[in-house]
């Protein structure tokens, strides 16, 4: 069953249509990649999904509950986790405290922060302030924070941007394993095609705010429209 259903979502900035009627679903345990050139509307879509931006029209459903008009903190409490293109953590707090804040925010008392730091592999540096972390580590801490809330839907905006190539695979493997074991629906946007074709079960391609291709990685790879957009050959 679909965890996330997007129906005819539209958003314009002045005259520019960032989203022009986008519709697709993401099922539980499914990992979907959102691809498209710069300006295709990927980040706009993420910002609409987590409530930072209001859509002009259309519907977003999380297991049947409408997210339209919900503030970001409401969306988060309904079970949507999000990581940002530039990893956002609380710099004045240690890695452990960062995860504790995530747990407290949803009044979760059962789990310990260590559990999640262990999963992303930053146990040794648990008591170091995040301001002192390398970028790759920050991405992991951010992931631990989001996972600690056990979301039903995980949104990752360019999860590997700014990371070294060898780190990318490791982070995505981690995210994919966790998503499968917890049966989380994952939607991530990505420019690195190795990451996309290595980890996505399904790919949605956006161009100028519209879905131009959707399907398995192989189907999308051979889609003529997409080749045209990306490679300029017809």
């Amino acid at each position: 069953m679909a965890i996330l259903s997007i129906r005819a979502l539209a958003k314009a900035y002045g005259g520019v249509k960032a989203l022009a009627g986008v519709s697709f679903d993401v099922a539980a345990g499914e990992i979907v990649a959102l691809i498209g050139p710069n300006g295709a509307g990927k980040t706009t879509l993420f910002n609409v999904l987590n409530g930072q931006l209001a859509a002009d029209s259309g519907e977003v459903l999380l297991e049947g509950t409408s997210l339209v008009g919900c503030a970001p903190h409401r969306v988060a409490r309904l079970g949507v986790g999000r990581t940002f293109q530039v990893a956002a953590t609380f710099g004045s707090m240690t890695a452990r405290e960062n995860v504790q804040v995530a747990l407290q925010a949803i009044h979760e008392r059962h789990y310990k922060a260590e559990t999640f730091l262990e999963r992303v592999g930053v146990t040794e540096r648990a008591d170091t302030p995040c301001a002192a972390f390398a970028y790759g580590e920050l991405k992991r801490v951010e992931l631990a924070m989001v996972l600690a809330q056990r979301p039903r839907l995980l949104l990752m905006d360019e999860p590997t941007a700014g990371m070294a190539p060898e780190e990318r695979g490791a982070l995505m493997t981690l995210a994919a394993e966790l998503a499968r074991s917890e049966n989380i629906a994952v939607l991530f946007s990505e420019h690195d095609m190795d990451v996309v074709f290595g980890f996505a079960q399904r790919v949605v391609a956006l161009h100028l705010g519209e879905v131009i291709a959707e399907g398995s990685p192989d189907e999308v790879r051979s889609n003529p429209r997409l080749r045209e957009v990306y490679l300029g050959d017809a």
Binding site: H73, A76, F90, G91, S92, M93, E97, A105, A131, Q149
Partner: protein, 597 residues
Amino acid sequence: MTSSAVLLQLLNGLAGASSLFLVAAGLSLIFGVSRIVNFAHGSLYMLGMYVAVWLSGRVGFWAAVPLAALAVAVLGACIEASLLRRIYRAPELLQLLATFALVLLARDFALWAWGPEDLLGPRAPGLAGAVEIAGQAFPQYDLLLILAGPLVFAVLHFVLTRTRWGVLVRAATQDREMASALGVNQRWLFTGAFTLGAALAGLGGALAIPREPASLGIDLALISDAFVIVVVGGLGSIPGAFVAALLIGVIKAFCIGLGYSKLTLVAEFVVMAIVLILRPWGLLGRPQAEVRGTWTEVPIGRLSKRGAIAIALLALLLVVLPSLPDQYVLVLATDMLVFALFAASLHLLMGPGGMASFGHAAYFGLGAYACALAALTLHWSTAAALFTGWGAGALGAAIFGWFCVRLSGVYLAMLTLAFAQIVWSTVFQWDAVTGGSNGLVGIWPEEWLASRTAYYYVVLMVCSYAIFLLWRMAHTPFGYALRASRDSPLRASALGINVRAKQWESFIIAGSAAGVAGALFAFSKGSISPETLSVQRSVDGLVMVLLGGAHTLTGPVWGAAAFTWLQDTMARSVEYWRAGIGAVILVLVFARWRFSA
């Protein structure tokens, strides 16, 4: 009201709007380029007035006006080149404090040079009469003022849109880093903008002397008016400042003309509130561009063993203090405790909350006045009066905080200051209830607390318990959520934290603690005056927090104790103690910035 009276009030409003615009435009210009909110802008206006009055006795009014503007411009250039240039990369709070130190220095300089009495300016030769407009007399000089505003606006607009320098100023206003990356020499740009802004303030002051006398208090009265205009018009927008100055000027004139001069403050407040709800960045402003490379907060540590021992020793000392022979120590210690609570409550907003409140004295004063009124007019018991002070601080913070948390950074700081100024003016004007400028006297606690020692113990217990609660809060889930909201509002809200709600709660908690401090203060002094909630008091709080260090929990309390002692000693032994404190603030700001940079 007849139509001719309406016309006359409109003209009156436009005349007042001109000087407001001159000050606000300069403030906006300087902010746009350097991102510094120049607290001393009202002081430059004040100096413009004094210099113009002084010069017009020598060279005549019409020569004195441009000369005064020039003198203030030169002073502005010196200030920029010698002081401000060093702190452009410092946190906003340090910049604001540095410019406030200039306010204190300018105030004492004017006091030294021209004395404490108001100085009456001359009438403008040739324009001393009145013209008849719609059957009523209207001063000729005010007509000139009405023209001066749009004229200066037109000149500024021309300079900013048609000259190379103006284009560079606008480029820097849009994106400072980008402008410097393109090879714009920031040094000259910043000095130029500050000099021009200072000249406008000086001109505004000089032009105002035929209408009102030069006085020492005009600096802060004017800067808070200018802040309201800049917040309403949009920070960094000259047309916004113009529109807002007209709006506020005309509304003020109508309130006075209708015989409700006390309504002017309410009207200003309502206009500002409506604008901020509908357009948080002001009428013609735009959201602030993100400043790259801001400074990050360091973790708040838990109390170390040595710190705990120091506090235990201090507690012991405070308990045995009344047995000392010198009773003055008790008076000073009571003040220190009250201001320690005040500073600790402000620190909750500034430190964990990341919101610089420049009007924290409002809650202190509301607490003090509510407590005093409960005791004097309602004859409530001391305990009930203290609780009333608590409630008043909390209520005030709930109302003002609701608006403030919608903004951030300097906008928020200016709004808190504007709110505090509105409370101050209300207290100052409402003779029937608050006793106006005389304040309230005879606020004494009940019989059993009448002795200095007994009351000291009450203050000691209440303040130390409240400070303990505030300290503990930093490590509660609420404190974590608040710090998370400060570090990254985006991340915090995506984790389910209602950022605004947490910030609002912190306002209410801080306001209620400040209210308690104010209530205790009222009973300890026996009398209160509008000075209890003046801008000066708000800034005292900031200095206390800065002195002790905003990054630690205990720092503000030590800072409050040290500052209270310093102020007490200076005020008793040095004539120009304000300038002394200003110098101390400047030294501190530079030391702190150098130390952290």
